[in-house]
Symmetry: C2
Amino acid sequence: MTQTRRKFVASTVALGVGAAASAMPSTSAMKPYPKLVHHVFFWLKNPDSKEDLNKLLKGLRTLEKIETVKGVHIGVPASTEKRDVVDNSYHASELLFFDSVEGQNAYQVHPIHKKFVDDCSHLWEKVVVYDALAV
Amino acid sequence: MTQTRRKFVASTVALGVGAAASAMPSTSAMKPYPKLVHHVFFWLKNPDSKEDLNKLLKGLRTLEKIETVKGVHIGVPASTEKRDVVDNSYHASELLFFDSVEGQNAYQVHPIHKKFVDDCSHLWEKVVVYDALAV
């Protein structure tokens, strides 16, 4: 298969997306993602309510305006193969990239994030958060 | 804060990273991530073994060579604030982006992925997988 697109890869080098290509080791055509991944999974109180899901997704989309948020992927469970190890019981997924732990800390107390929690926390019954730092 | 870097955002438009900037709606400077996020968390059998962790991380790094893998972030738990909702009990995190469910299916049966499982599955005692499709 011909590889016509650039791949992206997380790097231990703390670079922004724009500056990354020229500064990465030249061993591949990859550019780094921001170092810190913050991935949150939500389980709704009313899992059959499309309205509640849409309210939550709308709220999640406001988070990209926060300055320290460097990348956003808002999703729902994908129709990949059902396997014992796959947890597809959640209802919405919020993946954010930050350059650093400090950026994630600033996000937690940002007014836009606080407004999201105020507006939407009544919608979910469970949240699981994973924070991973590139190595 | 001045926003000097491009942000990236997942999009329902199935575009590759390279082609995306010009095709996205011009409402922001954001470019889309590939649609499908595949995020895997590993718990080691020997959580105190740096050697086992390094073997696993080395194995995970081989996966970026698979053609349908469009982005990679390999990580370990970040030192973010300890909160009840944060699960930092895992030992390694593998985040891969794909353009589609089909790309993820092709990855599952790819020889490089099978070799990774053969070489490394004795290292972990638990795996949890989340697949999320951008909405």
